[in-house]
Structure formats: structure tokens, C-alpha cells
């Protein structure tokens, strides 16, 4: 790509960040502040952990800091490797096959190998971002604590870059092979599902390893001793282990650690350039097939059910839009993992303490509704915007917007209420709180599960973004974040509805006596208002507001 192309791309990115409308700028500033807050929290946490571990290790002579550090870094690099592979697998299918600019770039007079290299670089940059966000503050903390800061930073950063290059290259190669077997859109679906399942399995596995043991000093000592007393085995061909060993040596002041770090980086760089150099013909072949195949017949001829009623047609159409979203299966996989994790947590609670069971029942109800809030942000808030420019056609049809909004809500609220009831109900079956708490928790889950999607559908319709590139972009707008704040408030209120202990705690803080029934009534009224007011305003707005006609 030439300099003009790079300059144009950079300017376009800058315009997106800085020159959008007030709403867009607000979202960008909120995102930047959230990022800074995250980096600040991570830095403070790591510095605290470093101080504590230095003090503790001074009293544990049998533990060798180098061994402990190498093992911990080994876990971190392995996680970065897995995250990089899964991220680049999903991203590469989009950048190498589904990106709209490919059609324009393919006809320009430069070698196809360079196009593949450019898209691979873009993939690597996008897929590495989460790992870099997590690791750069850690590297800075480590460098700050070291007697040779530059050496320490380089010793961490260089092998990390090598690991990301290797993971990215593997993900890109896997994406090319996957699209050789299945069409790009289906491959993206499959890759997203694999990524989500991989992350879910990792999360559940981490939880199953019972990290809470580290809160018990004896158990923690046993774990730390196992990790820090014996020398880690030879890295062999494991790049994460190589990276960990090289980084450990560098962080402990041994400049010789930079040699294996540089070797790993150069190996990663070589593999990264090797992928486009060897697989560009495969990409060209598969890309041509998929490009031509985008208009080719699949040979299917499914008529589907006849239209019997308008509501039936609206329901089926809405369900089709929702279920055919490429990320739905992946996100349902993540949801299942969260569900499992939550139940694993609840099972660890002591079953005899009635106070604790009451408290956890309240928190679990709030957590269920917070989960519904997050799901609603992703699936309900963008409901109207995801019509895209087809909204122009929709607006010219003789269809009452209120009726269609209700259908959009129903398609999302029924599963949301199901999720809230299932999660709350399963927790209650483990906790077995007293009858009133049990009943109130179920009522709160049902009411919240129905109201929160209505709040999101309504607010999303009040601030539609028909030109947004995808649903996630709509969800992460300032309107979406506003809806999330509102629904999180409702989730928090539900904890007070359910738990006597939380009401007592809040009452003592506020120095008032909080009776349960006024809070129940307040919750029900808030839920009704949150559901009805935005939906009614949105129906009126959709019927009368201008839709840009081109």
C-alpha cells in the first residue's frame, strides 16, 4: 500500500474519533476515560501485589523468585498465545474475505501477496489489542520496579511481540484453511463460536481450579511452594515457555535473556512474513471462489411457512433477524459459561447460615438482572437500528410502529425473562432461602427480565443509528451506555426487594427503617415506567421523525 493510502486511513480514523457529532465524541471520551481507569486500576493492583510478594518471599527462603516468576509468566504468555490465536482466527476471516474494501483493493495494480500481507498486518493489530492492553501496564510496572528498567521492559515486550506474531500467523493460516472448507460467512460464525467456546472453557477451567484457595494462607503457601520451589522444565518447542524464560532472565537483570527473546521475535516475524508469501495463492483462489460464490446459488429452495397473521409474520421476521446474527451462537456460548461459573460459585457457599443465604439470594437476583441488562444492550438496544437503511422501506409500509415495537420486545423479552428466571431459580435451589425471599426473588427476576429489554428496545428506537456498521457499534453508543446504566440501577434495586439483610444494611447506612413492601412497590413502579415510557415515546418518534432519505 502506498503512503497516500496509509495517510487517508489514518485521517479517516482520526475523523471518526475527533470530528463526529457531539454524541459520538461523548462516547469516544467515555471510552477513553474507561480505558484510563482500567489501566490505572491494573497498575495500582500490580504494584500492590509486587510489594506484598516481595515482603512475603523474604520470609520464604525455599521459594526461588525466578522459578515462581517464570511459571507465572508462562501462564500469562500461554494465555496471550491462546487469545491471539482465537482473536486472529475470527478477525482474519473478516479482514481477508468479508471486508468491503477488498473489492476495491483487489483491482489496484500491486501484487496480491502485498494485499494479503496488508490484511494480515491489520488482523494482527486488531487481534493483539486485548493482550497488549492487559500486558503493557504490567510491563511498565515491572520495568519501574527493576534496577535496569529499559532491559526489563525490553525483556518483557520483545518475547510478547514474538508470541503475538506466532499466534497471529497461526490464526491467519487457520482462517485461510477454514474458508477453503466452508464459505466465509459460515466460517466467521464457526470461528466466533470456537473463540467463545475456547474462552468459556478457559473461564470454567480456571474456576474449577478453585482460585479461592489462595485466600486461605495455608493453601496459598502450598500452591506458591509448588510453583516456586522446583525449577520449571525445559521449554522444548513451547513458545510461551521460551518467552517466559527469556522474560524472567531479563526482568531479573540478566541481559543474556534478550538473546532468546530476540530469537523468538525474529522467528515470529519470519513466520508472519512466511504466511502471506506461501499462502497468497490459496487466498486468491479462495477469495475468487467466495467473491463469485456470493451471488451463486446454493441450490436450496425453502418456502417457509405461509403468512397467516400479521403478528405471526412480524414475530418470525424479528426472530430471523435476531437468530441469524453472526455473533448470536458465540454469545450464547459465553452466556452458558457465565451460568456455569455462577452456579459453581453458589455451590461453594455454606448452606447452614440463613443470613448468608438471604444475602446471596438478593445478590444472585441482581446478578441475573445485570446479565439480562448486558444481553439487552447487545440484542435489544440495537433492535430498531439493525433494520439499517431498510428502515426507509419499513417507514413507507402501512404498519403501526407501536405494534412492531411490541413484537421486537416480545422476541427479546421472553428469552431474557427465561434467562433471569433460570439463573435466579437455579441459585435459589442451591440456597433454599425462606419462602417470602424465594417468591420475591422469582417475581423480581420475572419483572426485571421483561422490563429491561423493553427499556433497551425503547431507548434504542428513540436514538436509532441506521448507518452503524454493526449491532455492537450501536450498543456501545452513548445511548446504549445510558440504557445500561438505567437497567443496572433496576438490577441493583432488585437486590433490596429480595434480601432482608441488604435492606437492613442500607437502612443502617441511611439511618432509616426500610420496610420491604414499599421497596417492592417502588421496584414494580420503576420497572413499569422503565418499560412503558421509552416504548411509548419511541413509537411516537418512529411514526413522525424524519428518516434521512438519501
Amino acid at each position: 500500500m502506498n503512503a497516500a493510502f496509509r495517510w487517508n486511513s489514518a485521517r479517516a480514523a482520526g475523523r471518526t474519533l475527533l470530528a463526529g457529532d457531539a454524541r459520538g465524541r461523548l462516547a469516544a471520551i467515555a471510552g477513553l476515560l474507561a480505558l484510563l481507569a482500567f489501566i490505572g486500576l491494573e497498575t495500582a493492583g500490580l504494584e500492590g501485589a509486587l510489594r506484598a510478594s516481595r515482603a512475603a518471599l523474604g520470609e520464604l527462603p525455599e521459594i526461588r523468585p525466578a522459578f515462581l516468576l517464570e511459571r507465572l509468566l508462562g501462564f500469562a504468555f500461554a494465555a496471550a498465545l491462546a487469545l491471539g490465536f482465537l482473536g486472529s482466527l475470527t478477525t482474519a476471516i473478516s479482514t481477508l474475505f468479508l471486508s468491503e474494501e477488498l473489492g476495491a483493493l483487489c483491482v489496484l495494480p500491486f501484487a496480491h501477496r502485498r494485499l494479503v500481507l496488508r490484511q494480515a498486518s491489520l488482523t494482527l493489530a486488531l487481534a493483539s489489542t486485548p493482550a497488549l492492553l492487559l500486558s503493557v501496564p504490567a510491563l511498565l510496572v515491572a520495568a519501574g520496579a527493576s534496577s535496569r528498567p529499559l532491559l526489563a521492559f525490553a525483556a518483557g515486550a520483545v518475547p510478547l511481540a514474538g508470541v503475538m506474531l506466532l499466534a497471529g500467523s497461526a490464526g491467519i493460516a487457520a482462517a485461510l484453511l477454514l474458508v477453503r472448507l466452508v464459505p466465509p460467512r459460515r466460517a466467521r460464525l464457526l470461528a466466533a463460536f470456537l473463540s467463545a467456546t475456547g474462552l468459556a472453557v478457559a473461564l470454567v477451567g480456571f474456576r474449577a481450579a478453585r482460585p479461592e484457595r489462595l485466600l486461605d494462607p495455608l493453601e496459598a503457601l502450598s500452591v506458591v511452594t509448588r510453583l516456586g520451589a522446583a525449577r520449571p522444565s525445559s521449554p522444548g518447542l513451547d513458545p510461551a515457555a521460551w518467552a517466559a524464560r527469556a522474560a524472567t532472565r531479563g526482568l531479573l537483570g540478566d541481559a543474556g535473556g534478550l538473546v532468546p527473546a530476540a530469537a523468538l521475535f525474529l522467528a515470529g516475524l519470519a513466520v508472519f512474513f512466511l504466511v502471506p508469501a506461501t499462502l497468497w495463492r490459496l487466498h486468491l483462489h479462495v477469495f475468487r471462489d467466495s467473491w463469485a460464490g456470493s451471488a451463486a446459488l446454493t441450490g436450496r429452495s425453502r418456502r417457509g411457512p405461509e403468512a397467516r397473521s400479521l403478528d405471526g409474520v412480524l414475530l418470525r421476521a424479528e426472530a430471523a433477524s435476531l437468530l441469524r446474527d453472526a455473533s448470536t451462537p458465540a454469545q450464547l456460548g459465553s452466556l452458558a459459561a457465565v451460568f456455569l461459573l455462577d452456579l459453581m460459585n453458589v455451590r461453594l457457599l455454606p448452606g447452614t447460615d440463613a443470613t448468608q443465604r438471604d444475602l446471596v439470594a438478593g445478590l444472585q437476583t441482581g446478578l441475573s438482572l445485570f446479565l439480562v441488562s448486558a444481553l439487552s444492550l447487545r440484542f435489544a438496544y440495537p433492535a430498531v437500528s439493525s433494520d439499517g437503511r431498510a428502515a426507509l422501506v419499513l417507514r413507507t409500509l402501512p404498519l403501526d410502529p407501536q405494534r412492531q415495537l411490541l413484537v421486537r420486545w416480545a422476541v427479546r423479552a421472553l428469552p431474557a425473562a427465561g434467562v433471569a428466571l433460570a439463573l435466579t431459580g437455579a441459585s435459589l435451589l442451591f440456597l433454599l432461602p425462606e419462602g417470602t425471599t424465594f417468591a420475591l426473588a422469582l417475581v423480581a427476576a420475572l419483572v426485571g427480565g421483561l422490563a429491561i429489554p423493553a427499556l433497551h428496545v425503547g431507548l434504542g428506537a428513540l436514538f436509532p443509528r441506521y448507518d452503524a456498521p454493526n449491532a455492537v457499534n450501536v450498543a456501545l453508543s452513548s445511548g446504549g451506555l445510558f440504557a445500561l446504566v438505567f437497567s443496572t440501577g433496576l438490577s441493583l434495586l432488585s437486590t433490596l426487594v429480595v434480601s432482608d439483610e441488604l435492606r437492613l444494611l442500607l437502612g443502617s447506612l441511611l439511618k432509616v427503617r426500610l420496610s420491604p413492601w414499599p421497596i417492592v412497590l417502588f421496584f414494580l413502579a420503576s420497572a413499569a415506567a422503565a418499560a412503558i415510557v421509552p416504548m411509548t415515546m419511541a413509537a411516537r418518534s418512529l411514526a413522525t421523525r424524519d428518516v434521512a432519505a438519501g
Binding site: G304, A307, V313, A317, R324, P398, A549
Partner: protein, 254 residues
């Protein structure tokens, strides 16, 4: 013309001083225009003249700053659902629900116009055949080419046999065969008593199929009449292409 109860004829499409301002900018200035049933009206003009804004006001996509628009005598702003029930619309680009198939799209649109069951399926099949979409009817819209999506957009507009058909640049993306087929279909639809309003940049097409034409320049209707003899406000006349180049910007651009 649509006959009213007192026996007078009502134009199928009527703009009555329709005006649209965006802040200080006037996109359409007091457009007054009537299109009778059975007519094909071509609205032409340079880019930014206000053609799409006029269509937006007629279809209910935009609310007028002043004035009113009527479909078969029904005020679009006051009774939008009844007005839209008589309307078929093709936007300037084929905006379709990406995750649906052409058949699902037509079924959805047909159901909103009251179509049901076997009868609706027959009409869907007829439009799929007419626009040569039958073999693609189970593909997702997002995988279709631009031209194919344009044919789906046209099929959905014709599906309920509308009294008023509004098309914004309908020929874009169609091959010559499809363009000829659409021209014939539009003439036949008008011959059955419907009113057709279309915008186009193809002056030859407007001269070929339109029975009436209007020239919009900077939001104002500056000429109207037969495409072969368009009359300007000052009383001058001429063929559509001559008047266009005369009033809309001088000599033809390369």
C-alpha cells in the same frame, strides 16, 4: 383520477405547497403538483435539486416544514397508515433486511398490506417469476448482487398492486433487459389506472416512458408538461433534455 363521493376527480398524487427546510437551507420550496391516475410522472433535476426530498415527503419518510402531500386524496401526515396502504415505494438504493431471504422479504411486506396464506404466496411467486428471482428466493439478501437486490426491491413495491407507485432512480443496477422489462411493467401498471412517480437522471428514459415530466432545480419546480414539450414558468417550451440543459446548468458536462 380517483372519484370522490361528490363526483369530482381527485389526483392520485398531490403536493400542496410542500416545503422542506433543513435549518436555513430550503431543500424543497412550496412544491405544488398533481399526478392523475394512469399517468407516469418523471421528476428530473440535477443532483441536490430536491427530488429525493419530494419523494420523502410523499412517502412519509420526511415531515414537511409547510404544506401537505396526499396519496389518493389521503393526507400523508394526518393518516399515514391509510395513505401508505395505497403506496408502493422503491428507494434510491435497494435497502433490504440483510438476514432475510427475498421470499421472506416479500412475505413480510405482503403481510403488512393485508396479504395472507395461499393467496399471498401465489402473488409472491408471480413477482419472483416476473423479476427472475425464483432461483434466488432462498438466498439471504446480504449475499445478493446490487442488481438482484434492486429486483427484490422492485418486486416488493409491485407486490400489492399499489394505486400509487413511487420509484427513486429505479433503473440503477439493472441490466438493459431488466430495464426494458421494468419500463414495460411501469407503463402497464399505469394503464391499469395507477399513478407512477419516478425520479431519474436518464433523460432518454424519462422521454420514453413518462406521460408527464417536471424539472426541479434548487428545490423549485421550474418546468412541467409533456416530456416532448416541457413548459417553463416564463412560457417557453421545448423537449425535456433541451429545457434541462438550459435551466439546470448550461452546456452538458463531459
Amino acid at each position: 383520477m380517483v372519484s370522490t363521493r361528490d363526483g369530482t376527480a381527485t389526483p392520485s398524487i398531490r403536493f400542496d405547497g410542500a416545503t422542506k427546510n433543513y435549518g436555513q437551507k430550503t431543500a424543497l420550496a412550496s412544491l405544488t403538483l398533481a399526478v392523475p391516475a394512469g399517468a407516469v410522472f418523471a421528476l428530473v433535476g440535477p443532483n441536490g435539486a430536491g427530488k429525493t426530498t419530494a419523494i420523502g415527503l410523499l412517502t412519509g419518510l420526511l415531515a414537511p416544514t409547510a404544506g401537505r402531500t396526499f396519496v389518493c386524496g389521503i393526507d400523508v401526515a394526518r393518516d399515514p397508515v391509510r395513505a401508505k396502504a395505497r403506496l408502493g415505494f422503491v428507494p434510491d438504493r435497494p435497502y433490504l433486511w440483510p438476514k432475510w431471504t427475498p421470499r421472506e422479504t416479500l412475505r413480510f411486506v405482503g403481510a403488512t398490506f393485508g396479504g395472507r396464506g395461499v393467496e399471498l404466496e401465489k402473488r409472491i411467486d408471480a413477482e419472483l417469476v416476473a423479476f427472475e428471482l425464483m432461483e434466488l428466493s432462498s438466498e439471504r439478501n446480504e449475499t445478493l448482487s446490487h442488481g438482484t437486490r434492486q429486483r427484490v426491491a422492485l418486486a416488493q413495491a409491485f407486490l400489492h398492486d399499489p394505486s400509487v407507485l413511487v420509484l427513486d432512480e429505479p433503473m440503477v443496477g439493472l441490466d438493459p433487459l431488466a430495464q426494458r422489462g421494468l419500463s414495460e411493467r411501469l407503463r402497464a401498471h399505469a394503464a391499469k389506472g395507477a399513478a407512477v412517480l419516478l425520479t431519474t437522471h436518464q433523460l432518454a428514459l424519462a422521454e420514453e416512458i413518462a406521460t408527464i415530466a417536471g424539472l426541479l432545480v434548487e428545490g423549485r419546480l421550474v418546468a412541467r408538461g409533456s416530456p416532448r414539450n416541457l413548459e417553463t414558468a416564463s412560457g417557453r417550451g421545448g423537449a425535456l433534455s433541451d429545457v434541462f440543459f438550459d435551466l439546470a446548468g448550461g452546456s452538458p458536462k463531459p
